[in-house]
């Protein structure tokens, strides 16, 4: 324990020295999303600017704060001023900001997004007063965007591993009790009480037990786990250690998607650092507790989010689910009691142990305590990763945090392919496990996909079913054959090849698949269809009766045409059309031959965005022709 005190003291000093640094600090968010938005170019620009202008400054790479629509994000802390944040920074802007601020002491208040100081500062708002951040409660995401995720000292300096230290002073039963009192439920989506799972496993008679961290984030449209691991890997690892101590496991696995190379790299790096601080291996922090972690890269199968399928995959088998009971907590990996917890669940544990269950219960509502992270994406103004107390109404998330939609709001999908499509009139539903289930959706792992009037819900249902159909493991007939049949019906609806009878057939198929499938994948697969049929039936009816897709998405029901009055005859569309469907001499309105048109959208885009084009190409319903 004494060594640990020393590590903490040193880490705190390193952190304090960094904050009080004499030379300016430049923070850059370099999680995957930042990199995708161009952070690598910005990094190069920062380094060249510093060098060329002989500026003495230091670059600190941090994770992601969650305001993804503002990426790349660069913060500068200098001259004793609070750290100031700049958004959507291009290479050129980075150079300009750094030169102005660091050479002329002009921090460009108008360009700045916000500052991270305690008091008000120079016409720049506080970053946490930003409308996207103000309603949030950041517990799990506390460190994201603030610390260098590759430096364990930063984590230690901000109370890292204090939860583990406290846990080791308690008995395993007391740790489970504390988690039980907090009311924490599984953040992977199903909401099973975490402590209950732990207790079943702890009480199982076997000597050997395992803990598995499920980081196989397969839900398309969700990236909470990736961001947390990339930005604060030690939080998840600390939670895993506490869980292992509580259930009596000495070996743990992290099952993570191979599609997340940066997250895997950060985890490996973090585990190596833990070794140097005696936080992993034999006699952790001088206690009797010994524990090792192995990383298993998932090879890509959505069904492996299901616990028994995941276990089979770790065992080197096809990832197929099996009947339960026995539950993994009694008989799991290699037949031994195994707890599988989601990344976010584990990331929450250190906070609960450190601050106590009562502290945690102040957030959220009865039976749904604490916070939940969501990835807010789709047709919304402010996309990003957020954390809110459970019980927050959807409306608040979409309008206050997300800033609403550009066009008319249509629906929000929670829970990904297993969830439901929620219409405007139900937006006051509080986000809790029970309230979402009551309206036919699920909490899920945290994907929130917002749709506006440009999204066709029938097409969306087809998309989800197609996804599930491809991911069905094929073990049980209702899921394997039933979902295929549902996809076929939906495809026909989208192409206008089927009449109104199809809706009844679709509904009965959905109910059959839901009630007779073996695992969660099949049981929840029909949810997108059932909820869209329930809340958006008129839109289905328009497809099958009027052969009309109101969102102008279903390509069998739309066509492209040229508005002659607007067409400038610039021939840009002629040059991009892959099938020669558009013809016409220069400077005269062009002609679009619908029989040749494959609806690839190229002409539409070029006509809209090219300076000399006239925005003359329109997408219209086939019926209007």
């Amino acid at each position: 324990m004494n060594n640990f005190e020393e590590f903490v003291t040193k880490s705190k000093k390193e952190w304090d020295d960094l904050l009080k640094s004499d030379i300016p600090l430049i923070y850059l968010g370099t999680a995957s999303c930042g990199i995708a938005a161009g952070a690598e170019d910005v990094k190069e620009s920062i380094l060249t600017t510093i060098e060329k202008n002989s500026i003495s400054a230091r670059l600190v790479e941090v994770g992601c704060i969650g305001t993804c629509y503002l990426e790349p994000l660069m913060d500068v802390s200098a001259f004793g001023n609070p750290r100031i944040s700049y958004g959507n920074v291009s290479s050129m802007q980075a150079e300009k900001i750094l030169k102005k601020y660091l050479l002329e002491q002009d921090c460009l208040p108008k360009t700045a997004l916000g500052h991270f100081g305690e008091d008000s500062f120079d016409g720049i708002p506080n970053f946490f007063d930003h409308p996207m951040l103000k309603p949030q409660v950041r517990i799990v995401l506390k460190n994201c965007g603030f610390i260098d995720p590759t430096n364990i000292n930063h984590y230690l300096a901000r109370n890292g591993y204090q939860g583990l230290r406290k846990a080791l002073q308690l008995s395993p039963e007391e740790v489970i009790e504390e988690v039980a009192d907090s009311g924490l439920r599984g953040r992977g989506g199903a909401g099973f009480p975490t402590a209950k799972k732990w207790r079943i496993c702890r009480e199982a008679p076997d000597e050997t037990k395992y803990i598995i961290c499920n980081a196989d984030e397969g839900d398309p449209g969700a990236y909470m786990n990736r961001l947390l691991i990339e930005s604060d890997p030690h939080a998840v690892l600390e939670g895993m250690l506490i869980a292992a101590y509580a259930i009596g496991a000495s070996k743990g696995f992290i099952y993570i998607r191979a599609e997340y190379p940066l997250a895997i790299q950060r985890l490996r790096n973090a585990i190596n650092q833990m070794e140097t601080k005696e936080l992993i291996g034999e006699n952790i922090l001088g206690s009797d507790f010994s524990f090792n972690i192995h990383i298993k890269e998932g090879a890509g199968a959505f069904v492996c989010g299901e616990e028994t399928a995941l276990i089979h995959s770790i065992e080197g088998e096809r990832g197929m689910p099996q009947t339960r009971p026995p539950f993994p907590a009694v008989s799991g990996l290699n037949g031994k009691p195994t707890v599988i917890n989601n990344v976010e669940t584990l990331g929450t544990i250190p906070h609960i142990i450190r601050n106590g269950s009562e502290w945690y219960r102040q957030y959220g509502v009865d039976g749904n305590y604490g916070t939940k992270t969501f990835s807010l994406v789709g047709k919304i103004r402010r996309t990003g990763l957020i954390e809110v107390p459970l019980g927050t109404p959807l409306r608040k998330i979409i309008y206050d945090i997300g800033g609403g939609t550009l066009k008319t709001f249509k629906a929000v999908q929670t829970g990904g392919p297993s969830g439901g499509c929620i219409p405007e009139e139900l937006l006051d539903t509080p986000v809790t496990y029970e309230d979402l289930a009551a309206i036919g959706s699920i909490m899920g792992s945290g994907g929130l996909i917002v749709m506006d009037s440009d999204t066709c819900v029938v097409d969306l249902a087809r998309y989800f079913l197609d996804f599930i159909q491809k991911e069905s493991c094929g073990k049980c007939t209702p899921c394997r054959v039933g979902t295929r049949h549902m996809v076929e019906v939906l495809e026909k609806i989208c192409k206008g090849l089927i009449d109104a009878k199809a809706l009844g057939e679709l509904e009965s198929l959905a109910l059959m698949v839901k009630s007779t499938s073996l695992c969660g994948l099949g049981q929840t697969a029909p949810n997108p269809v059932l909820t869209t049929l329930r809340y958006f039936r008129p839109e289905y009816v328009q497809h099958v009766v009027n052969m009309y897709c109101p969102a102008l998405v279903c390509r069998g029901l739309i066509e492209y045409s040229v508005t002659p009055e607007k067409c400038t005859g610039c021939q840009r569309c002629v040059s991009v059309c892959p099938t020669g469907a558009i013809t016409g001499p220069r400077s005269e309105p062009h002609n679009l031959d619908v029989s040749k048109c494959i609806k690839c959208r190229a002409c539409y885009e070029i006509c809209r965005f090219d300076a000399i084009a006239g925005n003359a190409i329109v997408i219209r319903s086939r019926e209007e022709a």
Binding site: Y223, A258, K296, G316, G319, I606
Partner: protein, 152 residues
């Protein structure tokens, strides 16, 4: 061929003879060769003392494994929900048409292989396309040509 055997040997050596190592082993092999070939499957079966059938059963279950060679560059078109809503399907179709390949295949000149992926986790930038390690966000049909032109 000798070299080929040496590479396989060096990979196999890292793993104990335990069938639970099958997936990491296949991943390692794919990192080396870009795909899983029949001769490789034979070697693994021999080493882990399991049948070739079993290996094919596991490998074909997971979307990561491929059985055809890769091109010089790998394109992954993201068809996650956010990308779908923002037009990802049209992008994939355009790629299929321009490159004259289906997902999982490689162009005749070995320049590109095309893959569809469920989600790259960059949903805020939808629709997203990944070429080798580079991620492109907010991609449109007309931007595609520019992007592909960067890779020879």
């Amino acid at each position: 061929m000798e070299n080929w055997n040496l590479i396989i040997d060096s990979v196999l050596k890292k793993y104990s003879v335990d069938s639970s190592n099958l997936i990491p082993l296949l991943q390692d092999i794919q990192n080396e060769f870009g795909y899983i070939s029949l001769p490789v499957v034979e070697r693994i079966a021999d080493y882990l003392k399991i049948t070739e059938n079993k290996i094919y059963g596991v490998a074909s279950f997971f979307s990561q494994f491929r059985f055809t060679p890769r091109g010089r560059h790998s394109i992954s078109a993201c068809l996650g929900t956010a990308c779908h809503v923002c037009g990802g399907e049209i992008l994939l179709e355009t790629l299929e048409r321009e490159l004259e390949v289906k997902p999982g295949e490689c162009t005749a000149d070995m320049r590109f292989d095309l893959n569809r992926v469920a989600c790259l986790g960059c949903c805020a930038l939808a629709p997203v396309l990944k070429v080798d390690g580079d991620i492109y966000g907010n991609v449109t049909v007309i931007k595609l040509k520019e992007i592909l032109a960067k890779y020879e």
